[in-house]
């Protein structure tokens, strides 16, 4: 990545003052990218596809988002019951090993978000 910007020394102070705003905007824009969602879906074990279909990425604020799986609004087509087992699949039970598909996605993609925020900030300056 190489971004070139020429700034007159006299304008440098003003340019730097704009950086906080640009960092904030870059962070908000970057959180719209659904990379963690895609990664979680790729890590999720699939039987009927109900759990996979329940994974979602929700924006909670300009700098906050949530990666969610399961919920009462999602129905398993085989059992006809809600997808209320996401936690057990994710964290494991005494009879079943953990398959932390959300955690894996967060760990894998968090640096990608950080890099993208940095890139967007540099582009904006």
């Amino acid at each position: 990545m190489r971004v070139t910007r020429r700034i007159r020394l006299e304008d440098l102070g003003l340019e730097l003052e704009l950086i906080p705003q640009k960092i904030g905007e870059a962070a908000a824009l970057t959180l719209h990218e659904p990379w963690m969602l895609a990664a979680a879906q790729s890590f999720c074990p699939v039987d009927t596809g109900a759990l996979l279909g329940s994974i979602r990425w929700e924006l909670r604020g300009p700098h906050e988002a949530a990666l969610i799986a399961g919920g009462m609004g999602y129905i398993n087509p085989r059992t006809g019951r809600p997808v209320d087992y996401a936690r057990y699949v994710h964290d494991g039970t005494s009879r079943m090993p953990a398959r932390p598909f959300l955690l894996q996605a967060v760990l894998q993609e968090r640096l990608r978000y950080a890099r993208e925020m940095l890139r967007k900030t540099l582009e904006a300056t």
Binding site: I7, L12, G13, P20, I23, E64, G70, G71, V83, A86
Partner: protein, 219 residues
């Protein structure tokens, strides 16, 4: 029930406050640097004091630059943030040096050139100002001419002549003013057979006279 049915990971962007504070601090330092350079341009003084702190500041500046470069190369945002904070601290440490900077207009222009050739990283820009200040704080004047007393950077002008050290012989002890004598050499003399010590010394004394005569005649 809904809470237990779902599993959720919250993702929050942190560190924005620290980055903003660092940027604001850098902005204040940049304004101060700009004012210092403007002042330097208008004063145009040649004499620049070298501050004792400059060596340490130069080391810090180099480390911060290396850190920032690595962060850019590796695209490591956390490292970039640390490098940025270090750079801001370095710039703060150099503030006194910036105030002392009294470079010529040419030096200030060169500092501007350093700025414009920097590519890619806005957080390196205040560092470049500091580096420019350091470089020009080390340029010494030879306005009055004379012997170069210590190794370093000097501001020279068109048509001034610099004689290499191995060709300079100063005879300040013979007269009240410094006089420079051109010397040639070294001259290697080889003998076909091993000479006696007296014979060799006599031959060398004769050679000195012959060379002196040749040089005086422009030979």
């Amino acid at each position: 029930m809904a809470e237990r049915a779902e599993i959720e990971y919250q993702v929050t962007v942190t560190g924005l406050g620290e980055a903003s504070a660092a940027a604001n601090s850098a902005a204040a330092q940049a304004k101060q640097a700009s004012a210092s350079l403007e002042s330097a341009k208008s004063s145009g003084s040649q004499a620049i004091p070298i501050l004792f702190s400059s060596v340490r500041a130069l080391t810090n500046a180099r480390q911060a630059a290396e850190q920032a470069n690595k962060a850019i190369r590796d695209l490591d945002p956390m490292m970039a943030l640390y490098a940025f904070v270090n750079m801001v601290q370095t710039v703060q440490a150099l503030t006194s040096l910036m105030k002392a900077l009294k470079a010529s207009t040419a030096a200030a222009s060169a500092a501007q050139a350093i700025l414009t050739t920097l590519a890619g990283a806005w957080w390196l820009i205040p560092l470049a100002i500091a580096a420019g200040a350091l470089i020009y704080s080390r340029i010494q004047s030879m306005q009055a001419g004379g012997i170069v007393k210590e190794t370093g950077l000097y501001l020279l002008h068109k048509k001034e002549e610099v004689v290499p050290n191995h060709r300079v012989y100063s005879t300040t002890h013979y007269s009240s003013y410094a006089r420079t004598v051109q010397s040639f050499g070294p001259i290697y003399v080889s003998f076909e057979k091993q000479p006696e010590e007296d014979e060799r010394d006599a031959w060398m004394r004769g050679l000195e006279e012959r060379l002196a005569q040749k040089i005086r005649r422009g030979g």
